[in-house]
């Protein structure tokens, strides 16, 4: 019986840990001595584990520090090539475009955060433990790192007889690192001060908002750019070779733009906060969502590419065509939503769809020429016509449909015109973006495109139509059974073979297609989980009030299913982002490829790989960790809201 009690006690404790681990407000409320005894030295076995664990941890920490700060590391390789890592060979003279894009995104992010976010606060007590923890960790790091090598008068490493470098004595090393000691001491002191002031019961609950913590940390990082001279080189490229030139620091060239970025972020955040309370909050929220959808495309193809518009062509072809589609299509839609249009509406929509599909088939065989823009517009018009029966009725609803049609037409034609216009930016490589820019772009496009496809596949797989189920299931399972790299190779090598004569697809487009098709299969599985959680009663209720199958899916099933599968969808976004690294294998210059192949091929940094890869790893980690933490927080808040 005693055993049994012990067991239940143990498991209870385990459970407590699980909950503690997942709770955001895990604050040790015991005195330090008791806390240590309870969490580290509760019994002999535990003490042994603690000792062993700290030994291993110190060893690992020492290994990492020695690796990072070793005299053999050539961090200059990374510093010099920062620009290549971010945007490959984007011309320096046009860099303002990159900053404008980034600034736009920063402003939009700030605005959205201000409009939507409700991150709550973090208690000062918790903050103080963080400060103390990082101070302590810093101090430990300073101690465990091996002493530095001694540089002789010629600037070279002094070596002992057997060739290994001679190092300072431990004491000298500690004295040399006095600035680090001071930093650690400041952190510890600050933490202790706050801890002391905010442990009294009445001030325990004092919180600061998460946003101010984030902004202050960003501000401190920015401040360090202004005061510390990071890097001693700037990257310039001449005719396909990479040359390092000394004289200017990276900090020097980027501190001003970064300040602007932070200002935009904060400024728009507080603007969003104000607008949130205004009467137009709904409209502004919708507008910001719309901007999120279209701005990546616009920034990528218009701002970064800087298309050189041929106004003659615009006036003679593009503009009239856009206007024609907008207004004639609008007129068609207006008449299709007339009350009492009846079966004729469906007939017209079906005929339009047939015509639109026929246009694509004809394009495939090259029967007659037609601008791609026109084909896309006809297809969109057919889809709008199919949706039209839902908008039959009052004037306001019909106007809504026609106005949306006008907006979509304007946007599509604008983008298509811009994409088809040659770029004025002079580039050394075939793709005009590389490095981190390419990685982000591919991840974004794949996530956006695979979403509708994945939802369709999931619907097919859960459909009650056996053939649809069979087709979707076999597609999903085949794709999930093979590795991404084989799909990417297949698409980059094979797609040209599948296309008829005269049709071409850029390699990036082929790879994007393959990656999207791949990602959609995984996304479908995540959505399927959500779909399966919808009870049969929801379907029956929707049928009983007379909704059509499409309305049932759009209004009842999908909104609930997608909400349920948000955590899995975020996980899918993260893994899509991670797997973008595979682009490096199939010959696109993403930033991993720059770190792994481009930098080690430069004459100054022959074979220098590890530093660049480490930086790439850190950037990936930063993005993924932030997204996953945010989604966990979101999940918890949604979960709390439900209860």
């Amino acid at each position: 019986m005693q055993d049994a009690n012990q067991l239940s006690g143990d498991l209870e404790f385990q459970r407590g840990i699980g909950q503690q681990g997942s709770s955001p407000h895990e604050v040790p409320s015991l005195p330090v001595g008791q806390w240590l005894r309870k969490n580290l030295f509760s019994n002999w076995g535990n003490s042994l584990l603690t000792l062993l664990g700290s030994f291993l941890a110190l060893l690992a920490l020492r290994g990492v520090l020695n690796f990072v700060f070793s005299e053999n590391r050539e961090w200059d390789a990374v510093r010099t090539n920062l620009r290549a890592l971010m945007t490959l060979s984007y011309p320096e003279s046009q860099y303002i475009r990159v900053w404008v894009s980034l600034g736009f995104v920063a402003g939009l992010a700030g605005l959205s955060a201000g409009l939507w976010a409700n991150w709550g606060g973090v208690s000062v007590k918790r903050l103080s433990t963080w400060l103390m923890g990082s101070g302590g960790l810093l101090a430990v790091c300073v101690i465990v790192r091996e002493p530095s090598v001694i540089l002789g008068s010629d600037g070279k490493v002094v070596r002992t007889v057997d060739g290994s470098p001679q190092r300072e004595s431990f004491l000298d090393a500690m004295v040399d690192r006095s600035s680090w000691w001071i930093a650690a001491a400041v952190l510890l002191a600050l933490g202790t001060l706050l801890w002391g002031r905010f442990t009294s019961p009445d001030r325990r609950g004092v919180e600061v908002s998460v946003t101010s913590v984030v902004f202050v940390s960003l501000g401190l990082a920015l401040l360090s750019l202004w005061v510390a001279p990071y890097g001693h080189y700037a990257f310039i490229s001449e005719t396909k070779s990479y040359v390092a030139e000394s004289g200017r620091t990276v900090a020097f060239s980027t501190k001003l733009p970064w300040t602007v970025m932070l200002a935009l972020l904060c400024g728009f955040f507080y603007l969003g906060r104000i607008l949130r309370r205004s009467d137009y909050a709904g409209i502004i929220k919708g507008a910001s969502n719309l901007l999120w959808l279209i701005s990546p495309l616009t920034l990528f193809w218009v701002v970064l590419r800087d298309p050189a518009l041929d106004y003659g062509h615009v006036m003679s072809t593009d503009l009239p065509m856009g206007l024609a589609f907008g207004f004639l299509g609008g007129a068609v839609l207006w008449s299709l939503t007339r009350p009492g249009v009846g079966e004729a509406g469906r007939l017209v929509a079906t005929m339009l769809l047939g015509f639109a599909i026929f246009n694509w088939v004809a394009a495939f065989f090259g029967w007659y020429p037609m601008l791609q823009k026109a084909r896309i517009s006809f297809l969109l018009l057919a889809i709008a016509a199919l949706l039209a029966p839902n908008f039959i009725g009052e004037i306001a609803k019909r106007r809504q449909l026609v106005l949306s049609w006008l907006g979509v037409t304007a946007l599509v034609h604008y983008l298509a015109t811009m994409i088809n216009t040659p770029s004025t930016v002079e580039l050394q490589s075939s793709e005009f973006l590389g490095g981190l820019g390419l990685t982000l772009f591919v991840a974004l496009i794949v996530v956006l495109l695979s979403f509708p496809l994945g939802v369709l596949l999931a619907l097919g797989r859960t459909s009650k139509f056996p053939i649809f189920r069979m087709l979707s299931t076999s597609y999903i399972e085949v794709i999930r059974g093979v590795p991404l790299i084989s799909v990417l190779i297949f698409f980059s090598v094979m797609v040209p073979l599948f296309l008829p004569d005269g049709m071409e697809l850029a390699e990036l487009a082929a790879v994007l297609t393959g990656y999207t098709l791949f990602s959609a299969a995984y996304l479908a599985e995540n959505v399927r989980g959500g779909l399966q959680s919808i009870t049969k009663g929801q379907y029956e209720a929707a049928d009983a009030i007379g909704l059509t199958a499409a309305q049932r899916t759009g209004f009842i099933v999908l909104p609930q299913a997608l909400t349920v599968s948000i955590p899995q969808l975020v996980g899918q976004v993260i893994s899509t982002f991670k797997e973008t690294s595979l682009l490096a294998i199939i010959g696109l210059f993403d930033f991993l490829r720059v770190a792994n192949s481009v930098i080690p091929a430069q004459s100054e940094f022959l074979g220098v790989k590890r530093e660049g890869i480490l930086l790439v790893a850190m950037i990936y980690f930063f993005f993924n960790f932030t997204i996953s933490k945010y989604s966990q927080r979101l999940e918890r808040r949604v979960g709390l809201g439900e209860r």
Partner: protein, 508 residues
Amino acid sequence: MASSAPQSIHHERPPLYRDVTVVKWVVQVVALLLTIGALWFLAKQAGDNLRASNVPTDYDFLSVNPGIDLSSGIDTDPDTGGRALWVGMVNTLRMAIAGIFVATIIGVLVGLARLSNNWLLRKLGTVFVETLRNVPLLVQILFYGAIFASLDRVSMDVGPINGWLHISNKGLSMPRVHIADGFYQWMIVIGIGLFAANFLRKRRIAQQDLSGEETYPILSAFGLIVVIGILGWFVHPIFGFVGNIFNSLSSVVSAIPEGVLQIVLALLSVALSGYWIRGFLNSRRTPAGLAKLTDDDYFRMIFAGTGGVVGAVFFLFLWPGLSSWMINSGTDLFEVLSNKFGNGRSGRPIDVALPDVVQVGKFPNYGPSGLNFSIGFAAVFFGVVFYTAAFIAEIVRGGILAVPKGQTEAASALGLRRSTALRRVVIPQAARVMLPPLGNQYLNLTKNTSLAIAVGYSDIVQVGQTVYNQTGKTLPVVSIWMFFYLSCSLSISVIVNFFNVRMRIVER
């Protein structure tokens, strides 16, 4: 009165385009035809393009010397393309199996550490998991590869234990335990041993149930296998006759005429659809005779029947080569088996070889006798193992936390001992939650070994790429990849499902 009204209903069949069942099936059949049509069109297009560029899509390269060297594997200088791909497959499987084994151990340990009541262990576990799963696997593999490449050069007196364990920029070399001459005969003995042991275990359990005494069924069965295995070490050559059986099987298969096999396949296809239709009709049968069949049911049966006939036509006329392929490969399979099990293989079943360093030309290198892990292998291995271990750790943690607290309370209320409660109550339930995602991770690990291409380890993708670069036969190579990986994922899901079903039975 009221009941007279119903008789006046006159039935009318709705027009086809408004009939739910017709619309439903027409839409589906059209979708199916469109899909098949699109695939057929793409295939035809690709075929035309390949012919136009003079790249035939046959599989001849499988039996032609590709002229490539592989960095590692059971045969680094394969004499046919097929052999090269086979080496790649073996490398992939070797990596996957070893990786699954090690990743599971590390993952379970880290997962338990994250649940420990020791604060430090918990934090270390968290750091491990968060770091590894948020950095792309490829970045990790390249990083490990870059580190291993900077190790010391190999020399004749390479350490750390010269002659036993070598670590250098050429990778790791250690003693190899390998299958020797008599292995297959010995496996027959082991098979018999397994059979006997299972019998013994069941008897022991029956005894225990009867008498209530502890009879150690698992332990005694295990002991029996060991005894039989040791015995078999000496007597296995007597099973040489099995080779002859396979030999005669091989000649039987080769004697089957192609036409007969074609007809059999066609009949099989028709019979299968007939069988399905019969089963379907039976499932609709009620005690009072056949239940009313809906239009849907008729469509289903028509569809199944059409499928059977289409299959028969396919086997008879469209793809007659299939039967000769089946006969040839069947013959080959049994021939290989007869070789492996044949007489005259009387050596030890298992042998050990020590690693060596040889100097051919200017530079010393690892010799072929030890078990050599190239840098590529080590990089991919550490990469996939740590990466997968991080995910497995999360699965283990989630699985254990998913067992409701009431379960352990109930167990302790029954007076079960701690170990019994864990073994009989907590672990079975946690395992049920953990198994499906665990299977997924094993599958991911297997697929992730394909990243070996980035560090030049000869897995199937890397070998395949080399082969198609040499021969230009991209499509056949890609089809072999697909086939290989799909078989792997199918096997893993079959295994996982098997355990899953067993778990469910345990639960009930």
